[in-house]
Amino acid sequence: MTAATPDPAPTDATPSVTLRGLTKVYDGTTVVDALDLDIASGEFFSLLGPSGCGKTTTLRMIAGFSDPTSGSILVGGEDVTSTPPHRRDVNTVFQSYALFEHLDVRGNVGFGLRRRGVDRATLKRRVSEMLELVELGDRGKERPSRLSGGQRQRVALARALINEPKVLLLDEPLAALDLKLRHAMQAELKSIQRRVGITFLFVTHDQDEALSMSDRVAIMNEGVIEQCGTPEDVYERPTSVFAAGFIGVSNLMSGTWADGSVTISPSVSIPAPGHQGSADGEAVSVAVRPEKIWLSELTPAMFRMPGTIVATTYHGATTQHVVSISPDLTLTVLEQNLPRMRAEDRWIPGDRVELGWLPEHTVVLT
């Protein structure tokens, strides 16, 4: 975490989850590499990364299904590194939901409480409350096999939440749902988390999911956290080439730092007034988001360059243009299709344009 990353005010002084130097080595390959992480109580925290980046292994170590090679795991301030899963105050929503097919919905949801010996009346009341929360009040007697994917997902969520764990671990729980249902569940998960106030640690490879639901996102790659911050932080101010490329689309250009600007080619030099900490002559990269680049209504404050449209693709709400600046430099520009734009005003390949963006949208990556 960088100093520039503002933490949301923690609701509790003790973090829900603390990882210190957490490492996992499989057959000589380091899958998780000395991870340090603090997740505040009540936070919706996402671990985002490509498959094989170590995010699921991290989750499994916190749940207790996988033993760390070294390092420690604290849940609610208590060291649980060598505690077996059934004695950790942590519950998991599995990617496959892992429902118990031999029990009905109520049996599934009440399983954890029954293990703890909660009395019948309380059990019945709590299960009913939970089913109401996930809007399955009328499906209590159904077998899981008779439910739809979205309903199975809710049962899995209710079964974990009913135990009121210190942390709820979610392992790509939305991956198996179709797009529309996934969007609906994203909103619902977020609202359920707000209502119950339990810390959620959400693992996903879907940046859209991570950005739209999380208080904070950690981008993981090859066993290390590349960047950790609010969704806006990691999107607007990526700190590494990987982060800039993994979240959203970026125009990445490599060049040399000198005198407050980055020289991409002899004819192109991009000023980056806000950047500090690089020595003259150092190799750096510049990232600019396609939607930050303007093709019209440029203002004097913007950095400008002439170019030629080489391709345009219509995406409904937006249009994507590929603009050639010089033979070895093209930029992608994403333009909103605003109501006032007329079809005959659209750019077509071959048009000479001037593009520009505000200096604060130039992100220098070292």
């Binding site: 059934h86 097919e101 096999s145």
Partner: protein, 277 residues
Amino acid sequence: MARPRRVERKPALAVAVTVVFFAWLYLPILAVALFSLNDKKSLSRFSGFSLRWYDELVHNSALIDSLVASLEIASVATAGSLVLGTMLALGLERVTSRRGRVIGAVTLLPLVTPEIVTGVAALLLFTGVGLKLSMGTVILAEITFSIAYVTVIVRGRLAGVSREVEEAARDLGCTPFQAVRLVTLPTLVPALVGAGLLVFALVFDDFVLAFFTTGVDPQPLPVRVYSSIRFGVSPAINAIGTLMLLASALLIVAALVLPRLLGRGTSSLDLITGGRR
């Protein structure tokens, strides 16, 4: 296209083959049932209905003893192979090493070993270590032979159950042992019922192993039937065959109907017949 209606016509040849196949399969069995009701001893001419062979069967204490012995052998062998085979399947499912996979393959050998080899080997082993041949030796041999069937069926079901299901149980407060008892085993019930029925049926009428490993008295039913046939076939054998047929039919109906009556989604027989899933 020129022949759009062809699909809808019933293929006459396929129907004919099916009819012949079922006739070939079931007519001899129907003949056994029919002649068990014959009022004469003839096995070729049906002269009238009577229950005299059933009456004779009830009073033939040697046959009844053998029937009881076979039921006992099949019950104990089924229970024993279910326990051992399930434990083996659970263990093998967790194995990832090469050596473990080799052991997994070796457990399947009894399925392809000629039974006569197993029978002779069992006989040599029992006499070699000085075990007196008895019902106990038959049961031991049958368990050894049946474990592979249980393991194959249970592993098939386990493969369809996500590893995460057992982890979910542990996540919700189960010790590893409780997770197996409260979640894994109940999930396996259809497979266990299916494997149990199969093993019971296989062991109950198994002749080869029983022949090599049985003591003198009481002999398992198939061995008794075989030895009595050498002195001329009594229609009482037909009667016992018919009763066994009825019993197995009832068992199959029960296996199909019971799980649905109890509200289970899938029937245990679906595992064997491959239906519904």
